[in-house]
Amino acid sequence: MIEAYHLSKVYSRGVYALRELSLQVEKGEFVFLTGPSGAGKSTFLRLLLCQEPPSEGQLMVSGRSLSELRPREVQAYRRGVGFVFQDFKLIPRKDVFENVAFVMRVLGAPEAQQRRKAFQALKWVGLQHRMNAFPTELSGGEQQRVAIARALVNDPALVLADEPTGNLDPDLSLDIMNLFREINARGTTVVVATHDRELIRQVGRRALTLDQGQIVETS
């Protein structure tokens, strides 16, 4: 599903965030990207989200080169991708239900569909009873589960997560990872960037270790 060929990303002053990176992620696979800070994990996810273009090389998803997508095609592509951030990025002014339904709303879905899918997603992460709460009233783990519900509400084929457990304790981290495992079990391709090697060991999926923008280990 994801194919990277000699992918490089260079920032100003010749700093390489990614250097000649080549990898493949199969459809329906669960893959970890790991490595120290500055290894290029987040940069790769940003390229996958078309937030930045690569400097060199090719990045393809489902056979399409992301560099060649026009703005409207980028929008269409992103509708098929769910994303989860370390800092949750929930909208504090909206309650839990509105945060999840927001995705459907800004894509022009009918209200009935918004309500149905948002409720389904919240029920799946076990937070349907907290629909009217605001993010500030939730624990870190609950906020991250809301973020996961938001990532799933549009039935994406690909879910990207950048340090989703970075702000959580080990028990909660494992709960969140179990959610990702369940997402993957339904056929969704999952790519998780994390530096937590213990978590990777517990989940037991393929891990690509990056260092200075290159893959140094595959396990």
């Binding site: 269409a76 990025k89 894509l107």
Partner: protein
Amino acid sequence: MHAIKYFLIEALVSMRRDRRAAALAVLTIAAGLFLFGVFLLIDANVERLVGRWTASAELSVYLADDIDASARATVEATLTASPLVDRYEFVSKADALARFKRDFPDLADLSDQLDDNPLPSAFEVRLRSTAGAEAGLEDLAARLGRSAGVLDVRYDRLWVSRLMTVVALLRGISLAIITIVAVAAALTVASVVRLATYARRDEIEIMQLVGSPTLYIRGPFVVEGVLQGGLGALVAVGLLWGGYSFATMRYGQMIADALGLDTLTFLPGAATTLVIVGGMLVGCVGGAVASRSAGH
């Protein structure tokens, strides 16, 4: 329809969330449009005044009391043949006296004391609006002046032409001022909407990342601009009406008399609509400009 409803709700929520900034934008647009409306109001009444002045004879050919039919026919033929003449009307001595008594009622008794009617008969001539060639008009006036039985030819066109020039100049200045005010109002709306986009940058980021169409990202900000512009326009029209009512109540007849009008009038419906639509357009432009960065 769903999209418009979404834009409207989001715009209203944003305005309610930041009432002060929205009020600032509304009042700034209102101030600009009030100024615009004042110019329109003055223009509407000046238009009536100029219309009345230009409706009177632009060229008057005064005839001697003893002009014979042949000479009169010659004058009439000259007028008929001239391409500069739109139409003309014969005003008899009696008609002239009746007009004098109507226009100057204080002097009506004086005219009754005279043995004879001193006012001459005349042809009152309306010239074509394209008759701008001063030389041609002067030539016509000169020919008529040389005709038998013609006492005098009064040519007011020059004065009206100069008046129209002054009016056109004033309108040009008004347009320049209005343009500046409109740009200032649009920039104010753009600043307020830009503040709104900054305040909602987290939502905008999420919208961009989930692949929301650009229309859904920018639409609410454009609608917010339109609402602010429309509200500002309504406030401006309200202030104009209030000011007009107060001024006409206290000074209306005095001003009308000074200008030679029966009464002053408020903005015609088309002008009021122009103010409101103009306000909404200014707001729309401001909102669109400010939201451009939000769509990327």
